[in-house]
């Protein structure tokens, strides 16, 4: 356990001045900006419109189906890219620290960055909502902000993304090229965008965060996201530990 904390501690220092760190603020900002424009440009909201339900749901859905997989692709590729660039793996593996600690520190940092980014999105979304009540006074009567509900949805989306994070961590550790990671990310997201309605979509890794919002898929999304994520992480760790370092 000490060695995992040491590895995590080292990982945090490596984030300094990196794109990997900045991106976790940029992407949620873009999604929030989109929501802001939607609220701003919408002439009239239907009678059934509920600001504090629709806005966070929209925001998180756009996030879940598109931005988040993109972010995961980027983050894992960047986090592991800094180890490929100067062949740092050989240095790390020659240190008196178990390889599984190095592996899990990478995985946990990736998960952490995705979590922070998703929280940033939730906070920005609430701010957009507050701004909306000022811009459109008829929305002001929507009642108190459901913080707990928003927090839960945020957490669910993140938990459902564990499997994607595990898959991408494995890919970006295994191959040094950015192109392979990017290809996998684009491919995964591409099918997710168009296969959401297909019945296999229930089990498709890149759709799990989105499935949180789809009736009848919630439980499967959470179970597969967390369980699949853990299994895939353990398999990835197993491969990583046994690897020859060229």
């Amino acid at each position: 356990m000490t060695s995992l904390f040491r590895a995590l501690n080292a990982e945090l220092l490596k984030l300094k001045r990196t794109l990997a760190f900045r991106v976790i603020f940029v992407l949620p900002f873009l999604v929030a900006l989109l929501q802001f424009f939607i609220v701003w440009r919408t002439k009239s909201f239907g009678p059934k419109f509920n600001l504090w339900q629709t806005l966070p749901t929209n925001s998180l859905q756009v996030w879940a189906v598109f931005m988040m997989p993109l972010l995961i692709t980027l983050e894992t590729a960047l986090l592991n890219g800094i180890e490929h660039s100067d062949k740092q793996w050989k240095h790390l593996f020659a240190l008196p620290i178990p390889r599984h600690s190095i592996y899990f520190s990478k995985l946990v940092v990736a998960q952490g960055l995705i979590l922070v980014s998703t929280i940033v999105l939730a906070v920005l979304t609430v701010l957009v909502g507050v701004a909306a009540t000022y811009m459109k006074p008829d929305l002001a009567s929507e009642g108190p902000i459901p913080y707990v509900w928003i927090a839960k949805q945020t957490a669910y989306v993140w938990l459902a993304s564990w499997l994607i994070i595990a898959i991408h961590t494995w890919i970006s550790m295994r191959w040094s090229g950015f192109a392979i990671a990017l290809g996998a990310g684009i491919g995964g997201t591409f099918f997710a965008l168009f296969a959401a309605c297909a019945s296999v979509g229930k089990y498709y890794p890149w759709l799990l965060p989105m499935n949180i919002f789809i009736e009848g898929r919630f439980t499967a999304a959470l179970l597969l996201g967390i369980g699949g994520g853990i299994v895939a992480s353990l398999l990835g760790c197993f491969a990583f530990v046994r690897r020859d370092v060229a």
Binding site: R6, K14, K16, H91, A94, P96, I97, P98, V245
Partner: protein, 302 residues
Amino acid sequence: MENCLIETRGLTRRFGQQLAVNNVNLSVPAAGVYGFLGPNGAGKTTAIRMLLGLIRPNAGEVRLFGESLNGNQRTLMRRVGALVESPSLYPHLTGRENLEVTRRLLGAPRHLIDLALETIKLTKDAGRCVREYSLGMRQRLGLGVALLNKPELLILDEPTNGLDPAGIHEMRDLIRRLPNEFGVTVFLSSHLLGEVEQTASHIGIIHEGSLLFQGTLGELQSKQQTRLTVGVKQIDEAIACLASAGWDVQRVDGLLSVSARAPQDAIEINRLLVERRFDVFHLSLAQASLEDIFLTLTKRPA
């Protein structure tokens, strides 16, 4: 062998059909610099990767500090510092931060960073990003990272590769100081004999995966052939005379070349020729360079 920091027995590693390292038995004594010499592609890096547990041997065993590497890797690696090929650095971090990354991984005390920076003479530039460093500075920082935890054994793979003459000189100086000032044993690989000759006390020569020679620098030098070149007017008669006296003699460019072991031989040969009334006008003794030994050793079919 007693007091061996590195010992390998029958170390073998194959890549597909190719034997990269073939039944290598290294014994690296404590203290001093061990030069691991071989042409490019001889298997040096593969052997070093096995010493560090980066790749597994197909056969044989690595023992460090008298203990098998297998299963003890973590405890043994605490006592080892390594710089394999190019230094593994994070260009977006400063020199100090790069040391800090490894320090955090090791859980080592903070003051070791300043100590390492001082040793590699980078204190002044410690706050600059590594991407602004010259190749020589990077290599020194890589050495600093390897030295951070005060290792007893330092494994350096081609530490002067790609450096300019000034960088090579700096690096060599640093490596030479290490055994005395820090009590660390250095295992150093190189394809340059001159490099090893100037720093190492012990030498191992590897070629096509096999260890051809292992011993002290003195032992290697004693394998050197000395040749005596003699200039004499009556050349054919002189050849007959020396040959009949039992010397191995050849005619080279109008001079005689006699295989001799020591200056004493030169004295005897000269006396013999002068006593037989030959007109000797040239006498010189030349040692075959280590380069020649190296070439002779590595030309031998493995």
